[in-house]
């Protein structure tokens, strides 16, 4: 969490994904809204969340969801002070409901923006807790995830879905932006290589990075520099993009 303005980190290229996500975070905080930000995997959402976490000039918290995140993980993250442990036995044991009440009280005293990265991985009961935090404490939120997030909210969480004020769907990067990002990440490519990459993965730097790293290893194992053959060889590891070649 940060309360003061932090200087923009130098190791991030400000692309449209980062610009949009940061603007939406500021909007969610200013209007006390719940907003969703969805984009396909590999576009750079997590990088944008990391960047926003470092530069936002108001109180905020980030939860990085995993497949193993449960409602207890959420309660622990929001209800406990840094370094505090959840005592679930002995004289001072805390129930989950105690922790929830404590988190609500803290949010009312000193509100913050909650950014949930990979929110598409949240389970049903976690979404319910998120809704409870909104209902009880008006906690402004930015839920970030891939297209599964919209689908999950649409199908299974209508009550939460209705509380969302803005649903932003980020498009993949444009060709020029994609090339800039990859070069910024340190990948030098010929026009031919980039054209193949663009055909395979479009504006997804994460997916392109996976392919390029694989191609680098294929080339290294043959003792040559990465070329178009290595890139084509790397495609066999990713069945979802193989049909293009």
């Amino acid at each position: 969490m940060s309360a003061e303005t932090v200087e923009a980190p130098g190791n991030v290229l400000i692309n449209p994904v980062i610009k949009n996500l940061t603007a939406l975070a500021a909007r969610a905080w200013a209007k006390r809204w719940m907003i969703t930000f969805t984009a396909p995997t590999g576009i750079g959402k997590t990088t944008a969340v990391d960047y926003a976490a470092r530069i936002l000039p108001f109180d905020h918290r980030v939860i990085q969801c995993k497949q193993i995140t449960t409602r207890y993980t959420l309660l622990r993250d929001l209800g406990l002070a840094p370094g505090e442990k959840w005592t679930n036995h002995g004289r001072n044991w805390m129930r989950a409901s105690d922790l929830y009440d404590r988190a609500v009280e803290r949010i009312r005293e000193r509100p913050y923006l909650l950014m949930v990265d990979e929110a598409d991985r949240l389970s049903m009961d976690c979404f319910e807790i998120v809704r409870d935090f909104w209902d009880d404490a008006r906690l402004p939120m930015l839920l970030v995830g891939n297209e599964v997030l919209t689908e999950k909210l649409n199908r299974q969480h209508e009550r939460l879905f209705r509380r969302i004020r803005v649903r932003f769907d980020q498009r993949p990067l444009r060709e020029a932006d994609q090339r800039k990002v990859l070069e910024f990440m340190g990948y030098q490519m010929t026009d031919e290589e980039f054209a193949l990459l663009w055909k395979l993965v479009g504006g997804s730097p994460g997916f392109a990075e996976a392919l390029l790293e694989n191609a680098n290893e294929i080339a290294a194992s043959k003792g040559v520099k990465r070329g178009i053959e290595a890139l084509e060889g790397a495609v066999r590891y990713f069945p979802t993009c193989r049909k293009v070649v």
Partner: protein, 118 residues
């Protein structure tokens, strides 16, 4: 035939060889594997997989075999992070979700049952 041996035989030959080389199997499993798949294993043992190639093959293949590989400590350190990333590019299903949970727990240094009901 043991299930793990059957699954390994069905995997790409270079992955089978790499798993053998990394010592994933118990002596009886190894003997059974070499007996039933001798020719192919011998042929592919000469080809080594680099770390990212190895995890990319694990990610796109049999999720249960990959889970076993993670639980048996065959995938370590940065390879786990790459595996986690590659799995996100694959289509989701329950077996793959379980593999992702196993990988996440391994990255936190934990092991064991990772089933989730909800």
């Amino acid at each position: 035939m043991r299930e793990i041996v059957r699954r390994t035989i069905c995997a790409p030959s270079e992955l089978t060889a790499e798993l053998l080389r990394r010592g994933m199997f118990q002596p009886e499993e190894k003997a059974e594997l070499l007996r039933s798949d001798a020719e192919r294993s011998r042929e592919s043992l000469s080809r080594r997989l680099r770390p990212i190639q190895f995890v990319a093959l694990l990610a796109r293949g049999d999720a249960q075999l990959a889970t076993r590989a993670v639980l048996r400590d065959v995938v370590r350190g940065p390879e786990l992070h790459w595996l986690d990333r590659f799995l996100r590019f694959q289509k989701q299903n329950s077996k793959r979700d379980e593999l992702i949970r196993t990988v996440e727990r391994a990255m936190e240094g934990r092991k064991g049952n990772v089933r989730r009901n909800s």
